[in-house]
């Protein structure tokens, strides 16, 4: 998993509540054998005017010019501003995969659906909860200023606006530790690599027939 420490990037405002995971990545894209490559189909139904098919080259598809991520001023967005209950609906982990593949590392909203919220942390994404007023203010500032960038500092748990104003956010200690160090379940287990190796050395002594047999 990618580490998350501190980043500065373009923020884009997605001004609707209850964005569900089917909107983030529609179901026809779940048949893939991969967990990467979902970026071109992120928000497929909002982003394009036609109906998307799996394995299709999206470069020639008609774009919905009105959709926020299609506007030139939001090119290279890495921070998504959203409204309440972001990520509701099915538990598909493809939703954070699609956001991540598109290049988004942070979603800021007044509230998130729980499974989506958990899935973000497992995939190197940082979901940030700010108050309604703070989110409102960010929406206003982003819309008023082209090229608006936010800085997100996980270590000190603040979002910093271009004017230098700081907005503090909460994050679970353990999850923060995992994100800062890029530890998913596998990363966590690999912290105990020495113990695994020690076990293996002992097993090799006791049951040598279990090693180097299958090749």
């Amino acid at each position: 998993m990618k580490k998350f420490t501190k980043m500065t990037g373009i923020a884009a405002p997605l001004d609707r509540a209850n964005v569900d995971t089917d909107m983030i990545i529609p179901k026809q894209f779940l048949k893939s054998i991969k967990r990467s490559g979902f970026g071109p189909n992120l928000f497929d139904e909002l982003r394009y005017l036609d109906e998307g098919q799996p394995d299709q080259d999206c470069s020639g598809r008609p774009l919905n010019e009105e959709f926020v991520l299609n506007k030139p001023r939001y090119n290279g967005t890495s921070i998504l501003l959203a409204r309440e209950n972001f990520g509701c609906g099915s538990s598909r982990e493809h939703a954070p995969w699609a956001l991540e593949d598109f290049g988004i590392r942070v979603v800021i909203a007044p509230s998130f659906a729980e499974i989506f919220f958990n899935n973000c942390f497992k995939n190197g994404l940082l979901p940030i909860v700010l108050s309604d007023e703070q989110v409102d203010q960010l929406f206003k500032e982003v819309e008023a200023n082209e090229g608006y960038e936010l800085t997100v500092d996980l270590e000190s748990q603040v979002v910093v606006t271009p004017s230098g104003a700081e907005m503090a956010f909460e994050v679970d200690e353990f999850r923060k530790h995992c994100l800062l160090n890029g530890l998913d379940d596998i990363g966590l287990t690999l912290q105990y690599a020495d113990e695994i190796k020690a076990y293996e050395a002992k097993a090799r002594q006791q049951s040598p027939w279990l090693f180097d047999a299958i090749k």
Partner: protein
């Protein structure tokens, strides 16, 4: 201090560390991979820039998606595009990482749970995982085998460990002897009927008692295979001479001095006499009769000479509703005789019943007889290329084809209908597989789980018959 169960011993022997949150990290000796649940795991490794922890702990083969009809054209000729991509992806991943794979047309290819023990890749005392719930099969060898999900497949590839919680111990003891014509499949269906599909949830089930002590390894695999249908992720049988005789000489089993050393260690792989189980179920083997499932859950099972249950005899409303729903889906009426259920198709195969003994027992029943005219299709699908070869050497393929059954290439086939072998809507199938859920063998299909001998007899009669009477005719 009380003695230990086999499960306790296997678990403790593989414990790497106890995590703070109460979970445990256990070392996994073997992982078996197939094409459906592994692609995203390999992809995850690549995305994170990780390598498999230990290549020589893995063995792979495609099984769920492979066609079982003539397939000498190879993977490129698989018609279903999603199936083709999955099989090709497994081939590419195994090639990339150097993992041993028996590809589709390799003689050693087969259903994962048939192939792995056949090769000696699974040995007594190992821990094993596979991204498939019927991995419980491998417990027959006295191995601790778990079915896992794709993220766990990736976790084991990357760390050689599984994060798990210790289960409780259940002993299912079947005493005495089985009657003639009663098979391991009937035993396990009877057990599931008794304890229910959730009866084993949270437990590792050990199968003990004289019936299992006298059962062949293949029979033990049939029983452990369906531990999951009783709710248990793990099924186990203690190691004895029958286990050792089965393992001895297999390709990846230890040889020479190492064999002697291994046998010494494996002798301890039994539950101690004074081991305490959290739950004990005792059954008299003589009470078990040939079984047939009538409904849409493996626990909806009765003896062949019984009738379909009547909801009027149930007081619990949830059960009444369940029976009514199953009757409607299966197109059966209450109190109907099981032997009056007419069949459209017959499937002999799957990781439950596709080994050589299963095929022999089915062949014995159909020998010199003809499949009933009313049967649309009767399939025999061996569990692996090697089972197929053995069966052909014994002339079983001829017996089947002369009787009017189709003889196929190895794979999962109609067990889950991911390849073109499917039931039509409303069709009744006598199947030796393990799940009779709605739509499992094809949309609207009606599955009845039975033993290979019972399926064979049903193919000839066109409806269920008591195989014990049938063979006398």
């Amino acid at each position: 201090m009380a003695g230990k169960t086999l499960y306790d011993k296997l678990f403790e022997a593989h414990l790497v560390r106890q995590n703070d949150d109460g979970s445990s990290l256990i070392y996994i000796d073997r992982q078996v991979l197939h094409e459906v649940t592994s692609p995203q795991a390999f992809e995850g490794l690549r995305l994170a820039g990780r390598q498999p922890w230990r290549i020589d702990a893995n063995i792979a083969t495609p099984d769920h998606n492979v066609p079982t009809t003539e397939r000498s054209g190879g993977v490129d000729e698989i018609k279903d595009p999603v199936s083709k991509i999955q099989v090709k992806t497994l081939d590419a991943n195994c090639d990339e990482f150097g993992i041993l794979e028996f590809k589709m047309n390799d003689q050693r290819q087969g259903i994962v749970h048939v192939m792995a023990p056949e090769q000696g890749a699974i040995l007594p005392g190992v821990t094993a995982v596979c991204g498939d719930s019927h991995t419980a099969t491998l417990g027959a060898l006295g191995a601790l085998a778990h079915g896992v999900g794709t993220s766990e497949v990736e976790h084991v590839l990357a760390t050689q460990c599984l994060i798990t919680k210790k289960m409780k111990n259940m002993l299912v003891r079947v005493d005495g002897e089985l009657g003639p014509g009663v098979t391991p499949k009937d035993v396990v269906l009877h057990v599931i009927g008794l304890i229910g599909t959730a009866g084993g949830t949270g437990y590792a089930i050990e199968f003990g008692g004289d019936v299992f002590r006298n059962m062949s390894m293949e029979g033990r695999m049939t029983v452990c295979n369906m531990a999951i249908e009783a709710g248990a992720r793990v099924g186990l049988v203690s190691v004895d001479q029958i286990t050792l005789d089965y393992v001895n000489g297999r390709t990846y089993a230890p040889k020479g001095e190492q064999w002697d050393q291994a046998v010494e260690a494996w002798k301890n792989l039994v539950s101690d006499d004074d081991a305490e189980f959290d739950e004990v179920v005792v059954i008299n083997g003589a009470d078990i009769e040939p079984q047939v499932t009538w409904g849409t859950s493996p626990e909806m099972v009765v003896s062949v000479n019984d009738t379909v249950p009547n909801p009027a005899n149930e007081s619990d409303q949830v059960k009444v509703d369940g029976i009514n729903r199953a009757l409607a889906y299966m197109g059966l009426s209450a109190d109907q005789k099981i032997t009056d259920i007419k069949l459209d198709r017959v499937f002999i195969g799957s990781c439950t019943n596709s080994r050589i003994e299963d095929l022999r027992s089915a062949a014995e029943v159909v020998k010199g007889r003809k499949v009933a005219d009313t049967i649309i299709q009767a399939l025999v699908v061996p569990g692996s290329g090697l089972v197929k070869e053995q069966a052909e050497a014994e002339g079983l393929d001829k017996i089947f084809t002369e009787a009017g059954l189709e003889w196929r290439e190895p794979g999962c086939s109609m067990c889950l209908a991911m390849n073109p072998d499917k039931l039509g809507a409303g069709e009744h199938c006598a199947s030796t597989s393990n799940r009779n859920f709605e739509g499992r063998q094809g949309f609207g299909g009606r599955t009845h789980l039975v033993s290979p001998a019972m399926a064979a007899a049903a193919a000839i009669a066109g409806h269920f018959v008591d195989v014990r009477e049938f063979v006398k005719q």
